[in-house]
């Protein structure tokens, strides 16, 4: 963990209630699957947001406005400074992926898949991505994943884009993947867990106090013992998860 004052380079709406913010500052050590914890003016607790992309000294995050904190974030302007705790959480381990990993992101679980896909492509792996959304106006980053050279499937619950249904409906028709990586709402994670034919890594979300392992606010039970989602997670191995 370290504290970095990032400067907002841009902050734009990319889908319904979903914003993309680029931040400039010290990104050393930031890895895919990790998160950053932002201090917002007039709010006490920091806001944990997953890392979407790291490139040099530019960090990209994508967040959905779900409450007052993220609403404040959506109004932040270019040039503003953000007190940030960074290099938080364990992140994804790409060494276990095999040659053809399958990445499954749902809603704002999509962003962490992006840096992961980049890293896996850089390691020469054949990456397949399933992006799940409720409807067309919520869809984002389909083209960005395609531009990385990944095979991309989109599923929407109402069928307005891509396959009609859930990410698991796409998964059913895929059988050559070697490993899965996923992030999304818990019901989706559970469905993916039940549908998956291989081992994998699952990224969880929880309300956090500190975000760095001090307060025990986000603990969960696993087959390997009690874990803190913020410090020992957010990524858990399939084999350790207790639903």
């Amino acid at each position: 963990m370290k504290q970095v004052i990032f400067r907002v380079l841009s902050n734009e709406k990319i889908a319904k209630d979903v914003y993309k913010m680029k931040l400039q500052g010290d990104c050393e050590g930031v890895a895919c699957g990790q998160f950053v914890n932002l201090k917002l003016q007039n709010y006490y607790l920091r806001r944990p947001i997953s890392v979407c992309e790291v490139e040099g000294d530019v960090l990209t995050i994508i967040y959905k406005v779900v409450g007052r904190g993220t609403e404040v974030m959506s109004r932040m302007q270019e040039g503003e400074d953000v007190d940030t705790l960074t290099v938080l959480g364990n992140g994804y381990d790409t060494s276990k992926s095999g040659d053809a990993p399958l990445l499954i992101g749902g809603g704002v679980g999509v962003p962490p898949m992006y840096q992961l896909a980049k890293d896996l492509k850089a390691e020469g792996k054949a990456v397949t991505v399933i992006l799940g959304f409720n409807k067309a106006e919520e869809v984002f980053y389909e083209e960005e994943f395609k531009a990385l050279g990944a095979e991309v499937y989109v599923a929407t619950v109402d069928g307005s884009v891509g396959e009609k249904g859930f990410v698991t409906d796409v998964m059913k028709n895929l059988d050559s993947y070697t490993y899965i990586y996923t992030c999304g709402p818990e019901p989706m994670l559970k469905a993916v867990y039940n549908e998956s034919k291989t081992s994998g890594q699952f990224s969880f979300e929880e309300r956090m106090g500190c975000g760095f392992g001090a307060c025990m606010g986000c603990s969960c039970k696993t087959k390997y013992g009690n874990k803190r989602i913020c410090k020992d997670g957010p990524v858990l191995e399939k084999e350790e998860i207790i639903w």
């Binding site: 963990m1 370290k2 504290q3 201090k39 709010y43 006490y44 607790l45 920091r46 904190g69 705790l85 929880e206 309300r207 956090m208 106090g209 500190c210 760095f212 392992g213 001090a214 307060c215 025990m216 606010g217 986000c218 603990s219 969960c220 039970k221 009690n226 410090k231």
Partner: protein, 303 residues
């Protein structure tokens, strides 16, 4: 040169700053960021006889200028704390720690204190009779002068170390409880634990916390905590560790003027992991600004 040294029942602290139990883990996360030996001491995560997972999540919610938590005393149990956490802690902290002990009945407190009493790293035992997030024991033992005295008396019989009773603010007359602890042999009083509170989610229309209620802390409670420290200072002659909403060197001085000999910093650690370091660094200049040469001169100065 100003003097920041204070003394808690014979334990000399280089400064009065003590991270509060439950906001500093066992210190390692913070030792990655700065040399935690600059702290006066620190109070480790509340420990019970048996390991505990604590309450279901969500355990945390934000409030205006603060937060509520219902962690529910998650800890690995006293034996593991002694065999694993204390040796690990020794590598990053060479001062004496405050051992925060919790329980569900008097026997459990006694057994924990008996075990921790042998540990050389422990300078003070802080007996938590104020956890708002567990059912049975915890806060229940801290809401009546008779029960508080009974716990105090029982643990004093099995320990040679100074015993500080950590009190809950969720009572009608905190001074009478502090007084009862003093009469039962307590070496000091630690206050205040968190205030009971809740938040309700507008979408689900249900309590945010799985436990429904939680302990409210953060800058919002500073004035309430100051008042309670002030009241307890008038009731007892033993030292007070004051806490509640402290986030700056100015808050520390205010807490000491109310009657605290040392000051714990809680929720602020979770938001700004460097806060204790920053307070310690700022303290001498803030003392000079207010014409304070020795912190010992201001303890209870507001009375």
């Amino acid at each position: 040169m100003v003097n920041t040294k204070v003394n808690l029942s014979g334990l000399e602290l280089s400064n009065p700053i003590i991270p509060a139990s439950g906001t500093f883990g066992y210190g390692y996360e913070f030792a990655e960021l700065y040399d935690i030996n600059i702290l006066g001491s620190f109070s480790f995560k509340g420990t019970t006889l048996e390991p505990r997972f604590g309450n279901p999540t969500p355990r945390i919610a934000e409030t205006p200028s603060g937060m509520i938590n219902a962690v529910g005393l998650q800890n690995p149990g006293i034996d593991k704390v002694i065999s694993e956490e204390l040796p690990k802690l020794k590598k990053c902290f060479n001062k004496k720690v405050v051992a925060n002990i919790s329980g569900f009945c008097i026997d459990e407190y006694v057994e924990c204190c008996r075990k921790i009493d042998k540990e050389e790293q422990v300078g003070i035992i802080e007996v938590n009779i104020s956890c708002p997030n567990v059912h049975g024991g915890g806060m229940a033992l801290g809401t009546s002068p008779e029960m508080a005295a009974a716990v105090t008396k029982a643990v004093k019989e099995v320990t040679t170390k100074p015993v500080y009773m950590k009190l809950t603010p969720n009572v009608t007359d905190i001074a009478s409880i502090a007084k009862a602890c003093e009469e039962a042999g307590a070496d000091g009083i630690s206050l205040t634990n968190t205030f009971l509170g809740m938040r309700i989610d507008l979408r689900s229309k249900k309590p945010v916390l799985a436990n429904k209620f939680g302990g409210f802390s953060g800058p919002a409670i500073l004035p309430q905590a100051l008042r309670l420290v002030y009241l307890v200072y008038e009731a007892v002659d033993i030292p007070i560790i004051g806490m509640g909403g402290v986030s700056t060197a100015e808050d520390v001085i205010e807490m000491m003027l109310a009657g605290a000999t040392a000051v714990q910093v809680g929720a602020a650690n979770l938001v700004d992991p460097y806060v204790c370091r920053d307070i310690i660094e700022a303290l001498p200049a803030v003392m000079e600004k207010y014409g304070i040469k020795d912190l010992n001169d201001i303890i209870g100065g507001a009375h």
